[in-house]
Subunit: 206 residues, 2 copies
């Protein structure tokens, strides 16, 4: 009755997803990412909500090939990304939410740790892909740094979830000049952000 | 415009959730868990899908007070649970998915690592709460161990997500004699499982 072979389960899931989402007006690479998002959420409604800046998957892959690090807003998202695959290209997976200085600064200012964590990360040297699955405040801060502080943000996978600010922060990302993959509306989360990042890594082959 | 104080953001979110989900036929404790699930998913449809065995929250709290460990199916879920809070009662947060013997056994049998990981965990001494956010196969295996191998499973937070087996495994859990909190349908995931476990920990006060 139930299936126990992980490869068969995934293949069967992907066939069901293909059937249920039907035709979409998107590139082959975009469809692969969309299928991973639906796979992670079991929410077929999201198939038409994933938003890509032009050539987003290719841009993210180029950054990864150049050794970009991936910075996550929360440790849960960090746990969901295929670190081994990223390491093949020299990049590291990082999260500063539990960094001591970040925690002190958040305490002192009353701002979220997520804000302080991305502020710290954005100022580090090197190429970076930000993956924001949880905190709208982190995404707003990246947009502000890009706009007001002239800190060019290379790429954002931005899918914060929630009732306060999540949809608005993603809307602003979609309007920005930052290369991105995002999701319309309130839904999102770490699993979805991880599925997007992993879809990009998996498309890169071995 | 956007809010940056984490306590205010959470309080505002919870007020919005209260308003949107309206009256539910459930206990005060159940409502707290349901609100956390909606908060984690931004999916108000889930408010009526969370399923509790009788007195589930109280049973889970009793286990935690007795020093139960919490065993997760995947590391992503482990990252999402408040470990510090659990440690106050002597319990540990554990996940065996990357355990060397588990990986070897999965390779040898062609079964999922999730199956092998819960099989190992269930045979350890001591009280345990299983939190299954991802793998239907892990949940099916726990149900089998409970039924066929007479390994009494104390409690399951079971919210695997997906197209193959997820809804069916949760349905079987809801029909079982194992104390549980679960979610009807295909949706679920690590963030939802974490939100349920954390809601129980947060209700325990300091």
């Amino acid at each position: 009755m139930e299936e126990n072979n992980p490869r068969e389960i995934e293949a069967k899931s992907m066939r069901m997803i293909d059937e249920e989402i039907g035709n979409l007006n998107c590139t082959e690479a975009e469809r692969k990412t969309i299928k991973r998002v639906v796979h992670a959420s079991a929410d077929t409604d999201l198939a038409t909500k994933v938003s890509f800046s032009p050539g987003a998957a290719e841009k993210a892959q180029k950054l990864i090939r150049e050794g970009a690090d991936i910075i996550t807003d929360v440790t849960m998202l960090k746990s969901g990304i295929n670190e081994r695959k990223l390491a093949q290209y020299g990049g590291e997976l990082k999260c500063f939410i539990r960094d001591e200085k970040v925690m002190e600064a958040a305490e002192k200012t009353g701002l979220t740790r997520s804000i302080m964590a991305v502020r710290k990360a954005a100022k580090l040297p090197g190429k970076k892909i930000f993956a924001i699955g949880n905190a709208p405040t982190a995404l707003f801060e990246l947009l502000r740094l890009n706009e007001e502080e002239n800190l060019k943000i290379d790429f954002i996978v931005g899918t914060p979830v929630g009732f306060v600010g999540a949809a608005e922060s993603k809307e602003e990302l979609m309007q920005s000049d930052i290369p991105h993959i995002s999701l319309e509306g309130r839904k999102g989360g770490s699993a979805i952000a991880a599925s997007i990042v992993n879809s990009i890594l998996y498309m890169m082959g071995d």
